[in-house]
Amino acid sequence: MLTELLQGADAGGFVIIQDSIRCSGRHLLKSFINAALHREEAVHVLGFEVDEEELKDGVKGSAIDRVHFHNAYTDPLGWTDHPAFTVHQFCLEELTHLVKQSSHSRPATLVIDSLSWILRHRSPTAVCKTLHQLRKGGAVRAIIALLHADMHQKGTEGSVCHLATSVITIAPGMNGDQAVAKITKRSKSGKVMQDEEIFNINEDFTVIVQSKLGPKNTPTEEKEVDPTANLTFNLRLSDTERKAKEKLALPFVFSKEKKTALLHSGPGSGRILYEPDSNDDYDQEDPDDDLDV
């Protein structure tokens, strides 16, 4: 599923890459940028958290001309006299104007690094509204955003992720080279698909999916280990011992033989002689006669 998302088959898609302090999602974001460049698309990057040099590190060749980095890193809050791009410019009109400045005829892919920076300074309502308008407006083909899940309250994170067509949550893998991606994808029909994959990223930002951990895969059953093997004492039974064990009547089980012995007392056992007097309501019939004992 991760490979399909990287191929970017769906137009109008909104992909959120959720990371945390345990595992950064910026390398996967760069993989998405590289995949868009391979599709000959223009990529517009709103860079709040890293500078242009670090973001373009690894992008080689002529594709680098199609990366339009909008510098929101140097002065995102407008503290200087001439800020390039500020967080307050994150609205439909400004972004549409920004994207249309490039000379490409095809709609571009918008990359946001990161959405957490914007959510710290703008209300979640305004951010969600802008993202929704961007998706429907047609100025951008797809939106890919990085979100630091551990920096926001669950409500804010949930609201933004609800707008997304796909959410990829990154977690550290077993070793430093691998990471685990939990993917939730919503199709246009409303169907929700989930998957979990282990992947690693090469130096050229291509993603290699190592294995899938989704619910379809059942864990292989381990061969049962005999607990009575390799002991210094014997826990096993021979055939005669097993037969004697099976014949043994347990003391508190009410078996058929015990019931017969109780109901039909043998010779020499005690008898109860009962002579009712005038006040007794003695009924000859056995009150337990209807019981199936």
């Binding site: 302090i21 890293v50 503290w79 669950k154």
Partner: protein
């Protein structure tokens, strides 16, 4: 300066990596000995700017390359020190916007660049000890994170220097808590910004006379050519009178 820590970080005063943002943090412990390490480390090759809440009487000799300043929007301090030190105080900003007490201007950092013209100094280094004090002064977490971002932009990206900041955390580590305590959220925000973290905490098994705690070193946001993009290592340490020793868990001299 701790030579063992230099070998762990693969760093040397002669070949300082530029543009690094180092976060030093501690949880129920004291990581100020690491600030001392970086102070000494950078003294050898860089022009040093320190923002400290304590008076800098403890600076080692030969500190003619140190410019000491106290950054505050409310009070202006001037450090009058010995003849071998230069001191600068940041000019008090006019508080046109009281909600932005930590507004950083790059021109203030440029004042420290070769102002005497006598010698060329190396790239600047900003040390902050400690950032959590700002939270106790009533500054919001968002404002502190904005401040650290602009410090990184100015010192690391524009002036090609380095930044090292200390942040303290008193509570237990809480995961998936939407209503984080300020220090926890500050720590997470700084971790996302930095390229190297050194997190100091006590031993999970409790107090030990020969091992004073453990340090988790995490390299983040490395260049792609360097291979693994996230690398973590755990070390234990013991602080002596004149330094500190670092060793892998279970290899303390008291055990071996």
């Amino acid at each position: 300066m701790f030579t063992e820590l230099n070998s762990i970080l693969n760093a040397s005063p002669d070949t300082i990596t530029q543009g690094e943002f180092i976060l030093i943090s501690d949880r129920k412990s004291d990581a100020s000995f690491l600030i001392h390490h970086f102070l000494t480390f950078y003294l050898k090759g860089c022009q040093l700017i320190t923002g400290q809440r304590k008076r800098s009487a403890g600076l080692p000799g030969g500190t003619e390359r140190v410019a000491v300043c106290f950054e505050s929007s409310r009070n202006q301090h001037r450090e009058s020190s010995g003849p071998r030190r230069r001191s600068h105080g940041l000019p008090q900003r006019s508080c046109r916007r009281p909600e932005e007490p930590l507004r950083v201007r790059s021109v203030q950092f440029e004042q420290f660049q070769g102002s005497d013209g006598a010698e060329e100094w190396g790239p600047p280094v900003l040390l902050v000890d400690d950032l959590s004090v700002l939270l106790s002064l009533g500054v919001s977490v968002g404002a502190v994170l904005d401040f650290s971002h602009y410090c990184r932009v100015t010192v690391c990206s524009q002036l090609k220097g380095n930044v090292a900041m200390l942040a303290r955390c008193d509570g237990e580590e809480e995961e998936d808590d939407g209503d984080d305590e300020g220090s926890e959220r500050l720590l997470k925000g700084l971790t996302h910004q930095c390229s190297l973290t050194l997190h100091v905490q006590g031993l999970p098994t409790g107090y030990c006379r020969d091992i004073h705690g453990q340090v988790e070193v995490c390299w983040r946001r490395r260049r792609q050519c360097e291979g693994k993009y996230t690398q973590k290592k755990l070390f234990q340490y013991k602080v002596h009178d004149k330094g500190a020793s670092f060793f892998a868990p279970g290899t303390s001299s008291a055990v071996l």
